[in-house]
């Protein structure tokens, strides 16, 4: 038979016949088909070979040695060995039980403890103005317009020969004058506000700005 011209389908069919039928059991059509591929002698010997192989394959049937399996088990144990406590095997139900106990104990502790409530009062700053003493006059000159530069500073005068008297634009300027106190407070508030700026520039290192604010007020 020419192997080059035999299709895969033909080979499948031929193998099936060789496996299952001796030549004399073939139908006339099958005999005719087989005759185009093989001679009767070839078919018979090939068919007998298939039958003999079926018998002979049962003749070899050996079992693996137990030693081989032991060696492999050791290799597996070494390959997947875990260090220290991880070697200890814990069944799933034990792990679940421990987790449940921890949860319940923790939940119980949490429920038995009273919750402390903390009242936070907001503080309100109250500014009280004291009445000014009437026994002496403190005059101070207040500039009608903001002074633009350090060179045009407040002018102090002692012409009335009164102690601690500073006059700027004929306004009393003493430490006890409510107007001065208020101005100082506003100045300090502004200074603190600028110092406490979080996202902007701070006055902390800006001495020029500090001087300017103090000078203005």
């Amino acid at each position: 038979m020419n192997m080059e011209t035999t299709s895969n389908t033909d080979l499948d069919k031929l193998e099936e016949l060789l496996h299952n039928k001796m030549f004399d059991k073939l139908s006339p059509a099958e005999k005719q088909w087989v005759a185009n591929k093989l001679s009767e002698e070839e078919y018979t010997s090939m068919s007998a070979l298939y039958a003999q192989i079926e018998v002979s394959k049962l003749s070899i049937n050996i079992e693996p040695k137990a030693d081989t399996k032991l060696k492999l088990n050791n290799a597996l144990a070494i390959k997947f060995s875990k260090p220290g406590v991880l070697k200890l095997k814990m069944p799933v139900y034990q792990s679940v039980a421990v987790a449940l106990i921890f949860f319940l104990v923790g939940f119980g502790i949490n429920m038995s403890r009273p919750v402390e409530t903390k009242i936070v009062h907001s503080t309100v700053q109250v500014i009280k103005y004291l009445p000014s003493p009437q026994n002496h006059k403190d005059l101070a000159k207040v500039a009608s317009k903001p002074i633009k530069s350090n060179t045009k500073r407040k002018k102090y005068s002692n012409s009335n020969s009164v102690n601690n008297l500073h006059t700027i634009n004929n306004v009393a300027f003493t430490d006890t004058n409510p107007e001065v106190i208020r101005q100082q407070e506003i100045a300090m508030t502004n200074i603190n506000r600028v110092r406490n700026e979080q996202n902007g520039s701070s006055m902390g290192g800006d001495t020029l700005l500090q001087k300017m604010l103090v000078t203005v007020y």
Partner: protein
């Protein structure tokens, strides 16, 4: 605990391999149970009844899946992949030890043993020994083909994957092999003629 115990016998080879990658001893046991005997017999036949060598190769083959379980491609059938490894080991063994020469010595020993057998088993043993002898003379590829098809009873498709050739080639080689063997063995079995 029976409630959480897995039934490995119902799992597929591929599932067992997946479990083995995480160090599953039970998965390994099941794979060994399924494949150790067929593969030992495959090695035994391919190595001309060299039991010790067959055991060694069986050990090395299973060691491969322990050492590198990730080398298994999940898209393939485990059975095909495993026999491909086994076939490659056989080829390497043939190359390294020039096993054919050793087989010739073995054949002589087998023939001597043969004449000590009783007459009832004579024909069967004569045929088996002659078949073995003819297989030994063959190329390792043809011998593997014969074993996979007739003794391991694998499909043409599986053999094609293992031997890395088209299915048509496997079929035509098998046909050619059977024809050649039947010619040579017919003299040892009168009813074959």
């Amino acid at each position: 605990m029976a409630l959480f115990k897995k039934n490995y016998s119902t799992k597929s080879d591929e599932e067992l391999m997946s479990l083995l990658t995480r160090g599953g001893q039970s998965a390994f046991d099941e794979l060994y149970k399924r494949y150790s005997k067929p593969l030992l017999n495959f090695f035994f036949r391919m190595l001309n009844n060299d039991r010790e060598k067959a055991e060694d190769l069986l050990h090395d083959l299973f060691l491969k899946i322990i050492e590198k379980p990730d080398s298994f491609d999940g898209n393939k059938k485990f059975n095909t992949w495993f026999y491909t490894l086994a076939s490659n080991m056989i080829k390497n063994e043939y190359r390294s030890r020039q096993i054919r020469n050793e087989h010739e010595k073995h054949t002589l020993a087998n023939v001597n043993e043969l004449f000590e057998l009783n007459s009832e088993s004579f024909d069967k043993n004569l045929f088996n020994n002659r078949l073995e002898s003819e297989l030994k003379k063959m190329d390792v590829e043809m011998k593997t083909l014969f074993n996979l098809r007739f003794l391991e009873e694998m499909s043409i498709k599986q053999i094609a994957e293992i031997m890395n050739c088209p299915e048509g080639t496997v079929k035509s080689r098998l046909f050619y092999l059977t024809k050649q063997l039947s010619k040579k063995l017919s003299v040892y079995k009168p009813e074959l003629n």
